[in-house]
């Protein structure tokens, strides 16, 4: 037996490099390629920074930047307080107490996610406007209308909170339902009351889940363009738009984007840090039934109202306003052109959902088939696009696609004497690419979680039977992760349908979407007409929200 006395230098650099050479396969390279493809927008913003800021940059720094930062920070704090209040209280009530219509409330609380926040903003402007719904209501009752001005930054914080609190609700409820039951019983057995158990036990334990939901809300807050623009609040996103379209200074837009990226990544790091500090291993719950508390009539009614309140604010009130407007304007808006536009919008969403699900699946499986640990970590970087505001991604895509197209046009002209227009820039390709970067995580997460449910010995045993990675995927894994792919497809579809800022920047001239149409109406002082495309988006998005929630409850 040869004695390997060299075990000590197995992990020397020389050995590591030799193993790296041995273990890198085509899947490692493919994974790397996909991640680079997804990171290109951020990389190009980084590279473009080297060109220096535009002429107005110093003006912006002196006069506007304080405003951008101040408003964005105000929104972040105000929205945090409100969404935590709405999200945690409703999650606690539906998972701990029995009250009338509780089951319906569980999914109704998710519905505000079906309405893009800019549409909520339009609806509330209508509700509180002179001659708006509130005004009419007050006059009908015979009272003087006390006008509440909502079109300012406090109003914007309210709008964003009522439309985004479900992110916190969903993650908090998932925790309370899966984990709380046993722990609460233990706490009760030790003689601790309901309220004290909640504040001393459940809240600290649920904190990582709640903050994860909160971070999603804050990313949406920073991403918002439509609502802030309509309410005249200067934020980073509106600043980027102004720099790009009004000032026509891409360099300035790039500088603002870079700043926004830094803020977003600070948020992500904060989230990671808070989770690392408090790493609670999830308990296996044997008990899938949550024993809800039965309470007497008055508190029960109180809880019902407390839960109904955010749903009213986030869904029923704005939707009623929109339906009223739609009733007033449908004859004007509803025409064959509008139908074509809807089809186009759905078509783009379907195409994007398919492409995004495809790339997410590739990323998950290619990185799995790579044997290199750092490649697997890198794959997770590929999904960070969800954190980057749409306007920033749009700018980041514009830069390289424009450069590539110019290069290609020159080449075609030089070598083949072909005069060609832009091939990617300003076409559907660039738009779908940008959506894919932004929404990859939306597809990645459901696919990955179903993929993880497939025990790794299943594909392993396929390999032991002489079948390679790709065929194993097609024959074994694909049939087993179908539900994950379907929910990924639906989720991306909805997000694309609702998306505004990125679409505004990158959409081809002759293409329009429902979201852009609603925005155009609202910007052209025709906010009533915006109701029809808005309702189209809402109802399309609401159906799968209900459907997916049913799936969630079944599990």
């Amino acid at each position: 037996m040869r004695q390997a006395g060299n075990n000590s230098d197995i992990f020397s650099l020389k050995y590591r490099l030799r193993r790296l050479q041995r273990d890198s396969n085509k899947w490692s390279i493919f994974t790397l390629a996909i991640v680079l493809f997804l990171a290109l927008p951020v990389i190009s913003i980084g590279v473009k920074l080297l060109d220096g800021p535009g002429e107005t940059w110093s003006h912006i720094v002196d006069h506007l930047l304080i405003d951008y930062i101040g408003n964005s920070l105000f929104l972040v704090f105000a929205c945090s307080v409100l969404v935590l209040l709405f999200g945690i209280s409703s999650a606690w009530f539906v998972s701990r107490f029995e009250f009338p219509f509780r089951e319906q409330m569980e999914w109704l609380l998710i519905l505000p996610l079906a309405i893009p926040s800019y549409i909520v903003a339009y609806a509330y402007a209508g509700i509180f406007d002179y001659g708006g719904s509130m005004d009419l209501l007050f006059r009908w009752i015979g009272l003087d209308f006390i006008r509440i001005d909502i079109m300012n930054k406090s109003g914007l914080a309210f709008i964003l909170s009522v439309s985004l609190f479900p992110y916190v609700y969903v993650s908090a409820r998932a925790f309370f339902l899966n984990q709380a039951s046993n722990l609460l019983e233990a706490s009760k057995m030790l003689g601790v009351g309901e309220l004290k158990s909640f504040f001393n036990l459940m809240l600290p334990l649920a904190r990582p889940a709640i903050i994860a939901g909160l971070i999603l809300v804050l990313m949406e807050v920073l991403n918002d363009y439509g609502a802030a623009q309509y309410y005249g609040v200067n934020t980073f996103t509106t600043g980027i738009f102004r720099a790009w379209f009004s000032l026509e200074e891409p360099e300035t837009a790039v500088y603002l984007s870079a700043l926004l990226i830094i803020i977003v990544f600070a948020l992500i790091l904060f989230e990671k840090w808070q989770r690392r500090k408090k790493k609670f291993s999830p308990l296996k719950s044997n008990d899938i039934y949550t024993h809800r508390k039965l309470i007497s009539t008055w508190p029960r009614t109180g809880i019902f109202i407390a839960v109904l309140f955010p749903v009213l604010l986030g869904f029923f009130l704005p939707v009623s306003q929109l339906i009223y407007w739609a009733y007033l304007t449908y004859s004007k808006v509803f025409n064959p052109d509008f139908l074509m536009l809807s089809l186009q919008s759905f078509g783009i969403a379907i195409l994007t959902a398919a492409v995004t699900v495809f790339f997410a699946t590739l990323l998950i499986y290619f990185s799995k088939w790579s044997f290199l640990g750092f490649i697997r970590n890198l794959a997770r970087m590929g999904i960070l696009g969800y954190a980057i505001p749409g306007a920033v991604i749009a700018i980041g895509i514009m830069i390289p696609t424009l450069a590539f197209d110019k290069w290609l046009i020159n080449m075609l002209d030089y070598f083949f004497n072909i005069q060609s227009g832009f091939l990617i820039h300003g076409t559907l390709v660039a738009l779908v690419y940008a959506y894919c970067v932004r929404f990859l995580a939306v597809a990645f997460n459901p696919i990955e979680s179903t993929a993880l449910k497939v025990n790794s010995s299943i594909p392993d045993s396929s390999k032991m039977l002489g079948v390679g990675n790709l065929r194993t995927f097609m024959k074994i894994e694909l049939p087993l992760i179908k539900t994950g792919l379907l929910s990924a497809f639906i989720l991306v579809f909805i997000d694309v349908l609702k998306e505004l800022p990125l679409t505004l920047i990158l959409k081809p001239f002759d293409v329009n979407t429902l979201a852009v149409k609603a925005f155009e109406y609202a910007s052209d002082e025709m906010v009533m007409e915006a109701s029809i495309p808005s309702l189209f988006i809402i109802f399309t998005a609401a159906l799968p929200v209900i459907f997916l929630n049913k799936l969630l409850i079944k599990k």
Partner: protein, 328 residues
């Protein structure tokens, strides 16, 4: 058939080793059991042989071909190894027949071969069932049939009976190894149960914290264990430390370790080394009685006996030929 040379694997970049410097050979047609406690590295070892993990050091040769070294790694699907997983890993969306056909789709005579192996494991007539419609023991046999169908050069069974209850386990163990002997395939069988290993394996390899402690034929391993650890794996063993040696008045080589198997102890009968003992406590364990003894020199000792009528004072002893001696 299988030659493994100084195989090492660490999952934390060398801070600790799941497997360190493992070397051994396996002849054609041998059935070898790999025995070790959980965490001893036995699953890592078979996953390295199968190609599902990548070694940090060392080589694996299979049927004369280098399948794993620092330069080259043959993909698991090209190694012609059959692996029966602990949790069976049947494809849940395929029928029993489709599961078995999966690995032999390129074979001309695949349907006959599938029927043949299903017959071999005694599952004829159940071809159209799905895995969830089968009992644990049946699933186990399907997994075996599926692994045997492509005629693998080496068959690995990873803890094949750990998910079954004790009754079924014994029955299935014999069935499975009858089938394996019938096919004449070289097999590696991973277990933490020494009874399983002794009853079916030609050879046993003992792993302890990633290292090979001993590899020998089953009977030899029992008679001549090379360490207290190995001895204790195959039955109750009492280490003969200095205090016990003086109690029994048996001077042993001070440079060695010594132990005696519980079954070699005699009660109230003549033998070379004896001592008187007082019974402090008797615990009824069913087939055995556990005695807590206080020896003449005050030393305490716990032994098992089949003897039913034990008085409060007994004589306990052993013969020198039963003393196990370890140089390490």
């Amino acid at each position: 058939m299988l030659t493994i040379n100084s195989l090492s694997k660490s999952f934390d970049k060398g801070r600790s080793f799941a497997l360190k410097d493992v070397s051994f050979n396996l002849g054609k047609g041998d059935v070898c059991a790999i025995v070790g406690e959980s965490g001893s590295g036995k699953t890592t070892l078979v996953r390295l042989i199968a190609g599902l993990e990548r070694p940090d050091h060392g080589t694996i040769e299979l049927a004369g071909e280098m399948v794993s070294s620092l330069k080259k790694l043959v993909a698991p699907e090209k190694r012609k190894i059959g692996l029966v997983f602990q949790e069976y890993a049947l494809f849940p969306h395929l029928t029993l027949l489709q599961n078995v056909l999966y690995g032999i789709s390129k074979l001309k005579d695949k349907l006959n071969r599938a029927k043949e192996v299903l017959d071999l494991v005694g599952l004829k007539g159940m071809e159209d069932r799905y895995p969830h419609q089968l009992s644990g023991g049946q699933q186990q046999r399907v997994a075996l049939a599926r692994a045997l169908a492509p005629n693998p050069a080496l068959l690995i069974l990873d803890e094949p009976f750990s998910n079954l209850d004790a009754m079924l386990r014994k029955q299935l163990r014999n069935q499975v190894f009858e089938i394996i002997k019938k096919t004449g395939v070289t097999a590696i069988f991973v277990t933490h149960d020494t009874q399983d290993a002794l009853s079916v394996a030609d050879e046993i390899l003992i792993l302890q914290s990633g290292k090979v402690v001993q590899k020998d034929e089953a009977a030899n391993l029992y008679i001549k264990p090379n360490s207290v650890y190995v001895a204790s794996l195959f039955g109750n063993t009492i280490q003969l430390n200095k205090a016990l040696q003086s109690a029994f008045e048996c001077p042993l080589n001070a440079n060695c370790c010594h132990a005696i198997r519980n079954e070699s102890l005699t009660i109230n009968s003549e033998c070379e080394y004896v001592t008187h003992a007082q019974v402090l406590k008797k615990t009824f364990l069913g087939d055995n009685i556990q005695l807590m003894l206080k020896l003449d020199n005050g030393e305490q000792l716990t032994v098992l006996t089949k003897e039913r009528n034990i008085e409060d004072k007994i004589m306990i002893g052993f013969n020198s030929k039963d003393v196990l001696e370890f140089t390490s």
